[in-house]
């Protein structure tokens, strides 16, 4: 999960032109002014990296970086187990 978080943080920070160190697992997306487009672009970048397609998520269910990373990690683990 550490790798996933580091990547997600890197992608989001690049998109938003902010210091990656300002994003932690506890970071609330609203607090860093990340909107749905920012979040989905980050997810799309992770999809390209991992060559998967994450299930359509209701972004309102994942208000923090940690909650979203956890959900994406669970999916990746499931895909890995199925392989």
């Amino acid at each position: 999960m550490e790798e996933l978080f580091e990547l997600a943080r890197k992608f989001l920070a690049e998109q938003m032109d902010i210091d990656p160190e300002s994003i932690t697992m506890d970071t609330n997306f609203e607090d860093i002014n990340a909107d749905s487009i920012d979040i989905v672009e980050m997810i799309m970048a992770l999809e390209d990296y991992y060559e998967v397609e994450f299930p359509e998520e209701d972004l309102e269910d994942y208000p923090t970086m940690g909650s979203l990373v956890q959900a994406l990690y669970e999916f990746l683990r499931q895909v890995h187990d199925e392989c």
Partner: protein, 317 residues
């Protein structure tokens, strides 16, 4: 030239959209790609005679409604008409996409599918406000981004400059910041910070603040604001024009030709700037004349290579 038209978006889809496409075909030499539910489009086309070599249909089985969260809906509905139409531009199968549907979905499709230009955080909508002596003042952002950061407004200024010089052929366009006063230091946090950033920009003819009432004066070529302000300005103008037209008709038995310059059915559509492709946003209640006018805006943007012009402007930032 091929333009992809999202047939499923808007209050009067599909009939007025198809009618608008047919009007445009009669007035241009381009080709149209009608995107939406195939059976619906085929049924509409039965009423028309046209050169079938100039009309193509691409099926899209889903539609994003105006009441849906645009980004979530776009993720879930991969076969949504706006996504399919935008994908055609991405793939080089169409030169532009035009839609009367959800602006949020169209913007999200443009961002996710066409991609943002380097240096652009959010694509703004640009529209022309008629003013004195027949001149247009470009308003940017006219409603795509309701919450903005100062640096985003600077980006809008750059894109507006590219459009003013590239399409309207204005030399060294004058850029102003919409504000509640002319003096430096006026406004809210957003405008006071943006003012300073714009003042520091090289190669940008920033002339300062502009009050709303000066939009028609011809004092500037590009008026910059956040999408919330821009949309309110536009809708207020629309309402005022309708009011004056009704008043004139009541009092004098006729309206004035000058008011037709504010008629959105004549203007048609507004380009979304800052993305790697041409996407034209049309009013949700567009009927055939407005749809045709929107297609003409797309045609003009293609002919003027507006994407290249924006990229060139951004490279100079």
């Amino acid at each position: 030239m091929k333009i992809a038209l999202d047939i499923m978006g808007g209050d009067f889809s599909p009939s007025e959209l198809v009618a608008g496409a047919m009007l445009w075909l009669n007035e241009s030499d381009g080709q149209i790609i009608l995107v939406g539910k195939k059976e619906i489009i085929e049924s509409e086309l039965k009423s028309y005679s046209f050169d079938s070599a100039r009309v193509a249909i691409v099926n899209a089985s889903q539609v994003i409604g105006m009441d849906e969260s645009p980004v979530t809906a776009l993720r879930k509905k991969k076969d949504a008409s706006i996504a399919v139409a935008t994908q055609l531009v991405k793939a080089g199968k169409a030169d532009a996409v035009v839609s009367c549907g959800s602006t949020g979905a169209q913007m999200a499709a443009a961002v996710f599918i066409l991609g943002r230009m380097l240096g652009i955080e959010r694509p703004p909508i640009v529209t022309g406000i008629p003013g004195r002596d027949g001149k247009l003042t470009l308003l940017i952002d006219a409603g795509a981004n309701v919450d903005c950061r100062p640096q985003q407004l600077v980006q809008f200024a750059r894109l507006g400059r590219a459009y003013a010089s590239g399409v309207l052929k204005i030399d060294n366009p004058r850029i102003a910041l919409i504000n509640n006063g002319e003096e430096r230091g006026k406004g809210n946090n957003l405008t006071t910070q943006t003012y300073e950033l714009l003042s520091e920009q090289k190669n940008l003819n920033f002339i300062g603040n502009l009050e709303g009432r000066e939009l028609f004066s011809g004092k500037c070529d590009v008026a910059v604001c956040d999408g919330f302000t821009g949309n309110i300005l536009l809708k207020t103008m629309e309402g005022m024009v309708l009011f004056i037209a009704a008043y004139l008709k009541q009092e004098m038995g006729k309206t004035s030709g000058v008011l037709s310059r504010f008629d959105y059915t004549q203007i048609g559509g507004a380009p979304l700037l800052g993305v790697n492709g041409i996407s034209i946003v049309c009013h949700g209640s567009s009927k055939r004349e407005a749809v045709c006018a929107g297609l003409k805006i797309a045609q003009e943007c293609v002919a003027n290579h507006i994407v290249d012009k924006q990229l060139k402007e951004l490279a100079e930032m």
